[in-house]
């Protein structure tokens, strides 16, 4: 299978700051990929280089089999993180214009623009100016403008920011639909839950370097589960739990304060760990914690001594709270 994107030894600097360093990346066509990393990791710079909006200082980038995205711009859909609409333009005219810019002929552009507005439940807003739309509606229009020309490659940078749960689900469905149509989707985010739910494969960038490039299954296999979730029957269970041999540390869970997370010592089999805990203290509920992308992210960013983002950051909860 050909690669939708292939980057070899790519480096990009801004003055003294190295944004991307020696990046090799090969993303076969047809996949749904997640590009993750903390803020300032180099995700947007990578995407902009793929889009030929920025140019690499060294290394090569090929997109859809061409030497640069310029040669295949009409086959690429792009929703940048920093996105906006012409405030004074009417919604239908804007979508038609974007489709035209992407090489769709005039009658087809107008027809598709109308179809997309119906699909996104925005048919009534067709004659409105973009500035009259709510933020969520604007997001949907922006999404439509990135897929209206039926691209072969779709790059979405923080697509879910600012969407309510209903629209989040709607957009998620539309992304899957594009994928099923055969479109390669690259999805940049630091909302791990979405990445985990949607993507076949995850690429993580940190400080300009690629630190992870694997399928979700490979990640789960590689990041062996070392945490057991324990809900003690007695209130004083935490102290007793810490005494159990082979338990390295105990902390309370982020999600539920009555649940404790017992970190197992290296080399201890999780099943053996469960047996030892059950023998030592009365428990109401206990399970081996399934490794999440969030754990992997924290592990990788934390291990490299970076400014590890909080879990709320990673889930995009701050962004959500801000838009609530």
């Amino acid at each position: 299978m050909t690669d939708a994107i292939r980057m070899t030894g790519v480096r990009k600097t801004f003055g003294t700051k190295v944004a991307v360093d020696n990046l090799d990346l090969a993303l076969p066509a047809g996949g749904l990929y997640g590009l993750i990393g903390p803020n300032g990791a180099g995700k947007t710079t990578t995407i902009r280089m793929v889009m030929s909006i920025l140019f690499a200082d060294s290394g090569t980038v090929s997109v859809l089999g061409r030497a640069s995205a310029i040669e295949s711009k009409d086959r690429i859909g792009y929703l940048p993180e920093e996105r906006g609409l012409y405030r004074k333009m009417r919604v239908l005219a804007l979508l038609t214009y974007m489709a035209r810019l992407k090489g769709v002929d005039a009658p087809a552009a107008a027809k598709r623009a109308r179809e997309w507005l119906v699909r996104l439940d925005l048919a009534k807003e067709a004659r409105k100016k973009c500035e009259e739309l709510s933020k969520g509606m604007q997001q949907k229009v922006q999404f439509a403008s990135s897929v209206i020309h039926q691209p072969d490659l779709l790059i979405l940078d923080e697509v879910f920011t600012g969407l309510d749960p209903v629209n989040r689900r709607l957009i998620r469905g539309l992304i899957r639909e594009q994928h099923q149509r055969g479109c390669t989707v690259i999805f940049s985010t630091h909302a791990m839950v979405e990445a985990e739910q949607l993507c076949d494969r995850i690429v993580m960038i940190h400080r300009g370097h690629k630190v992870l490039d694997a399928t979700m299954d490979e990640i789960r296999a590689r990041f062996d589960p070392r945490t057991v979730m324990v809900e003690p029957a007695d209130p004083g269970g935490a102290a007793a739990l810490a005494e159990v041999p082979g338990i390295q540390s105990v902390s309370s869970s982020d999600e539920n304060t009555s649940v404790l997370e017992a970190r197992l010592a290296a080399g201890l089999d999780p099943q053996e760990g469960i047996r030892r805990i059950a023998a030592a203290i009365p428990v109401r509920r206990m399970e081996v914690k399934r490794v999440t992308l969030e754990d992997v992210f924290i592990d990788l960013v934390g291990a490299s001594g970076g400014d590890a983002p909080s879990r709320a950051d990673i889930r995009g909860e701050h962004a959500e709270a801000a838009h609530a």
């Binding site: 909006i53 711009k73 009409d74 690429i76 792009y78 940048p80 906006g84 012409y86 405030r87 810019l101």
Partner: protein, 481 residues
């Protein structure tokens, strides 16, 4: 190219099809026509009348009779005719009428001058020669200048004193050798029409001169009457003709001609800067509303920039065509001055518009792409301001002497050269023919360099947010991109 044109078309329609543009550009001339129409209608109505008395203290005793003669109804009628004739002469001086019988404007100006005289009723009151100036001056402070229609027949109501004239001793009798005649003093009520003041002092001046001539023994000895002498010093209107290069006689276009270069420069500036300003605003807006990156995913920075520049050029052209069309129509239809503008003038206007526009637009696009908002843009506007200010400061000097060294040098200064060339080319004096292609070549070279630099700044600036760049940064961008 296709996408560039799409960007250009959007840019053009997004600017032209807005209420603001339609009101500002299309409605302005329409409003002007309406205002002029309304004004000419209002002229038909009776204007406010000026009525009152002019008091005279004649300390010489020789002037009062002459002044009295000049404040009769017959004198008023003569005066009105005189003024109409003067107005006519003034219009003719500006350039003889192309169509025999006179244009509407000329007739209108004459009619106005006549009416203006007719609407003023001044009566003279001669005060005793020893009257106290301070006392007689007092009524001026209480004067009622304009009374609508009824002033003349105000009956028992005291007539307002509008002016006090004091003719001192020594203003008529021949002074000792080396000394001059004593001047007369005139006191006016506040806000009295300047033209009326002028008329009063003029009549007094005439009467004094007449008294001097009548009383001067030298004149009497020479056998001359005062009117003989006055006739000798009066000069009828000069008839000026221009001989063109073919040796043909043409009507001299006079002072009206002076306004043409200024009109052309204003036209050029309005068109160039409406387009340029539109480009700046829309670029800043695209950047601040973050549409820019979405656009960049579909078209290259160069396509966006060129498209936007072309779109706004269309806007500038709309203005140029509307305003120059209206200007030419006004000259031909209302003022009968078709000979003031040649077709070549308009061709040059168009060529230099394109050059000036591309230079200004390149700067505006570069500035717009480099900043985050309009406030930051202002700090980088210095070069653009220079392009505006230099032609403004020098247009008068240049149109007076289109072939001076200053004018020639400025014609080849990059940036301002299209404006200077337009002033010179539309002026009355032909410029050396080699300067036209060289001027155009300088303009084209400036366009190439500024567009090249702007493209570099645009490519980097379009995606740059945060601290706005200064000139040094812009130059670094030009070098590195």
């Amino acid at each position: 190219m296709h996408k560039t044109l799409m960007v250009a078309w959007r840019e053009f329609t997004a600017t032209v099809l807005t209420k603001g543009f339609l009101l500002g550009v299309i409605m302005t001339p329409v409003m002007l026509v309406i205002v002029f129409g309304a004004m000419s209608m209002m002229r038909g109505l009776k204007g406010p009348q000026i009525a009152g008395e002019v008091a005279l203290i004649d300390r010489t005793g020789a002037v009062a009779a002459g002044v009295e003669e000049r404040f009769t109804a017959a004198a008023d009628a003569r005066d009105a005719e005189d003024r109409a004739a003067k107005a006519r002469a003034m219009i003719d001086k500006a350039g003889p009428l192309a169509a025999q019988g006179g244009g509407m404007a000329a007739a209108e100006i004459e009619r106005q001058a006549r009416e203006r005289s007719a609407s003023t009723h001044l009566t003279l009151r001669v005060l005793p020669a020893d009257a106290n100036v301070d006392v007689e001056r007092e009524p001026l402070a209480r004067a009622q200048i304009k009374t609508q229609g009824q002033a003349a027949d105000a009956g028992g109501q005291a007539v307002s004193r509008l002016a006090l004239i004091v003719v001192p001793e020594g203003s008529v009798a021949a002074p000792a050798a080396g000394a001059g005649y004593a001047p007369f003093s005139a006191y006016f009520a506040e806000k009295l029409d300047f033209e009326v003041q002028d008329r009063i002092t003029g009549r007094v001046r005439e009467a004094i001169v007449e008294a001097r001539l009548a009383g001067d023994p030298r004149l009497v000895g020479a056998g001359l009457t005062p009117s003989d002498l006055l006739a000798m010093v009066r000069q009828p209107k000069v008839e000026s003709k221009t001989i063109d290069r073919g040796g043909h006689e043409k009507d001299s276009v006079g002072e009206f001609r002076m306004l043409i270069p200024m009109g052309f420069m204003l036209l050029l500036m309005t068109a160039v800067f409406t387009g340029g300003q539109g480009l700046l605003t829309s670029t800043v807006e695209e950047k601040s509303s973050r549409v820019m990156e979405v656009l960049l995913s579909a078209v290259s920075p160069m396509q966006i920039m060129v498209g936007k520049i072309l779109g706004q050029m269309g806007v500038g052209l709309v203005i140029l065509v509307i305003y120059s069309g209206l200007g030419v129509t006004a000259l031909v239809v209302f003022l009968h001055r078709a000979n003031l503008i040649s077709a070549m003038d308009l061709v040059y206007l168009f060529i230099f518009f394109i050059l000036a526009y591309f230079i200004v637009a390149s700067m505006m696009a570069a500035i717009g792409s480099a900043v985050n908002d309009m406030r930051e843009a202002q700090t980088l506007m210095a070069p653009v301001m220079m392009v505006i200010m230099l032609p403004w400061l020098s247009w008068f000097l240049i149109q007076r002497a289109p072939n001076s060294t200053l004018a020639t040098i400025l014609s080849f200064v990059p940036g301002i050269n299209p404006f200077i060339m337009v002033i010179r080319l539309s002026g009355s004096e032909p410029i050396p023919s080699w300067q036209i292609p060289v001027g155009i070549a300088v303009g084209v070279a400036t366009v190439v360099v500024s567009a090249w630099a702007a493209a570099k700044v645009f490519r980097i600036g379009a995606l740059m947010h945060g601290r706005p760049p200064n000139f040094a940064t812009l130059i670094r961008w030009i070098r590195m991109a």
